[in-house]
Assembly symmetry: C2
Homo-oligomer: 424 residues x 2
């Protein structure tokens, strides 16, 4: 089990001395995170979250999952932003975990999407997990209205109650009230953990356990990371190295960070990462623009621009050392495509050569890059990666002088929308 950071392709862009020179500021950022003396210190619950999750809660959620799967054909989760991305990221990274179907709702306001979903659910036994701190966020609130009506037509009484699980504020808010009045089961979202840091709270853990993900392993990986990345010395902490390099690259005019992976199960982890970094750092007229590319698919669309376009980009690759499946490339007697050279090799071998080649070509072309390598595509490594990025953005945000834990800008469109809807 492990996570390594390779900075070899930063040569010519980030000098060891520049990184070392960050140490005093980084030390300050580290202390601010540890002592809760920095900006946004009401929302630092995530820093010690993994080690503070009781094993008994994980046991309880694992048991809940068994119950849900026993009486349901599928799970529908209602949520948006941090109440959606981490769940989807985890399930896709783990390739659907045990194969229990999970559907998403309330992450958009598409009538076509939700109408199709209702159609799909018509003949299924459904459990609903509604995830919202307030219960008044437009998208999940409207989806919950629609799905509550659907469920009430299908089930009633205790049968209905056991099929609706609410993950919400411990005391206040519309969803808390709805749950209380209707007797739905509830789990609590801690007050000191913001949405984009919430995947290891019940926000992520309840639906993931319901879907059959090994939440013990997920949290175990995060606990290891919490321990490993608590080291203040940048020379000994890959998480802080990543944060520091981002900062130095941004100061050189690298305004776009591409999180790239040759592993297609990273698609939604990348989306989760975009929220984590974009929402934490994109403020006060500054912040790296986070973009996701999945290779080699996207090499055949964005590869040209990466190689030869504006030199305002850096890349971070996430690689997987050992994939789950073996898949041998067949020998072909005709060899018209000339690929007998790799016949008998595993497809992942070629994929990895593609990754090495791409990282080198991009660096030579003026796109510096780093590579994070995870040992495996399992829950434990995913938990580690989540915490790695969370800790990195906390440090990176403090280095850039912003409050990485607020998101004042997201209110602007809501205000205008509520005005259009006549809502106060």
């Amino acid at each position: 089990m492990g996570l390594t950071l390779d900075m070899g392709n930063l040569k010519g862009f980030v000098k060891d001395a520049d990184l070392a020179a960050l140490q005093p500021r980084l030390q300050k950022a580290h202390q601010d995170l540890t002592d809760k003396t920095g900006l946004g210190n009401d929302y630092l619950g995530w820093t010690r979250l993994p080690s503070s999750i009781p094993d008994t809660l994980l046991d309880e959620l694992t048991a809940l999952g068994k119950t849900v799967r026993a009486h349901s054909d599928c799970l529908v989760t209602i949520g948006i932003g941090g109440s959606y991305l981490g769940i989807r990221a985890s399930l896709e990274f783990l390739r659907g975990a045990g194969g229990f179907p999970v559907y998403y709702a309330g992450h958009n306001m598409s009538a076509d999407y939700h109408a199709e979903l209702l159609q799909t659910l018509q003949k299924k036994n459904v459990t609903l997990a509604v995830i919202s701190k307030s219960g008044t966020t437009t998208e999940p609130a409207l989806a919950f209205r629609i799905l509550k009506e659907f469920m009430a037509k299908k089930y009633s009484g205790a049968e209905l109650q056991k099929r609706i699980i609410c993950v919400t504020d411990g005391k206040k808010g519309a969803l808390r009230q709805i749950a209380a009045q209707n007797g739905y089961q509830t789990y609590v979202i801690p007050d000191d953990v913001g949405g984009r840091f919430s995947v290891l709270t019940p926000v992520g853990l309840v639906p993931l356990a319901a879907a059959g993900v090994d939440v013990h392993a997920l949290v175990r990986g995060a606990r290891q990371a919490e321990q490993d990345y608590a080291v203040a010395d940048i020379a000994a902490n890959p998480c802080y190295q990543y944060a520091g390099c981002r900062r130095l690259l941004y100061q050189q005019g690298k305004k776009i960070e591409v999180l790239a992976s040759f592993y297609d199960n990273m698609v939604s982890v990348n989306e989760w990462w975009k929220q984590l970094f974009g929402e934490s750092e994109g403020k006060n007229g500054q912040g790296i623009f986070p973009a996701s590319l999945i290779f080699s698919t996207d090499l055949h669309s964005m590869g040209q621009l990466l190689q030869d376009g504006e030199r305002n980009i850096f890349e971070t690759f996430v690689s997987i050392a050992r994939v789950g499946s073996a898949l041998q490339i067949p020998f072909d007697a005709q060899d018209l495509d000339k690929f007998n050279i790799v016949a008998g090799k595993d497809l992942d071998y070629v994929n990895k050569q593609g990754q090495i080649a791409t990282a080198a070509a991009h660096a030579e072309g003026g796109v510096p890059n780093m590579t994070i390598t995870l040992g495996r595509s399992d829950a434990e490594h995913l938990g580690r990666l989540y915490y790695f990025f969370e800790r990195a953005v906390g440090i990176s945000g403090y280095l850039s002088g912003v409050n990485p834990f607020d998101q004042p800008g997201v209110e602007a469109y809501k205000k205008k929308m509520f005005a259009l809807l006549g809502k106060r």
Copy 2:
């Protein structure tokens, strides 16, 4: 049927006079496209492609589709880049067309992905569409080896032959040879149409017809666009207005274009667009970075940065005037979420208010934006949109002085990869 462009939210960024002042250069770009006197003029087949597709070919492909669907449970398409994105974009935009399952292969080199795919196909009757001009592009070539072996275990003789369709070069190349030696059915990729412009050639049309998409309607929409956007006068041509505005915004330091949509079926159309624009313009150290966001999902991740981050972004929204499904928001006697204000309204009504609010909020926050509105989410409008963007990138590329029809940069990683693999 229609497509409109709203430039109201460019106010303060693009003046009418600036756009009008582009007319002479635009006129030149227009003539170069029309007379084939500009850079990359060997690859202008797409300009008159819609009007030059014989209806008899569309009839033939429609009949082919019926045959395929009669003897198969699913279609597997093998391809990458332009031989993948347009197919997936179309099927997802049309929400799966008739519901015939289509799987993708050879668009990445993930062993896990392809091993799972083989598992899925084990008990199904399969037709394979292999799409590659040369037959030697690594990803599809390796996937074809793997799937050819799979198919040969399942079928033989005429049964095997009828289940493998090759879309490839008319005369040369490995895939052309493989098809000839094994008696597979073939369709021809024209020489004068590059991969990213190929969705309306057999590259897109064969698999789409096989999956049950109305290819007549798709081409009809593109034909209308070919006619509508052939007007040299920027004042009368929304396609050229889009191209012109992009250029003016880029010159103001707007280095990132976000193609945004409140319609979730745009996900893969956006990916197709990223290739079209990124690969056409990202060269010679310049080019707008194309990024995709699907709202309101991504408002809850990237909304903060869009509102308050670096002011180096502009947005283009794609909206749909009339969606397919009606979905009423239920009334709730308790109204704890306070959304009875929209009870009885359609979900799409709220979605559209969200879009209007977002576009206005972003413009006020320093992110100028345009909105393209399609009448409906059908094949005809999609064909129109494809041609709109193709024509726009041709003009936009010529305005920026690059050859929009080559992609020399994509060779860099391949050379290094072949060296690592020992391939010549």
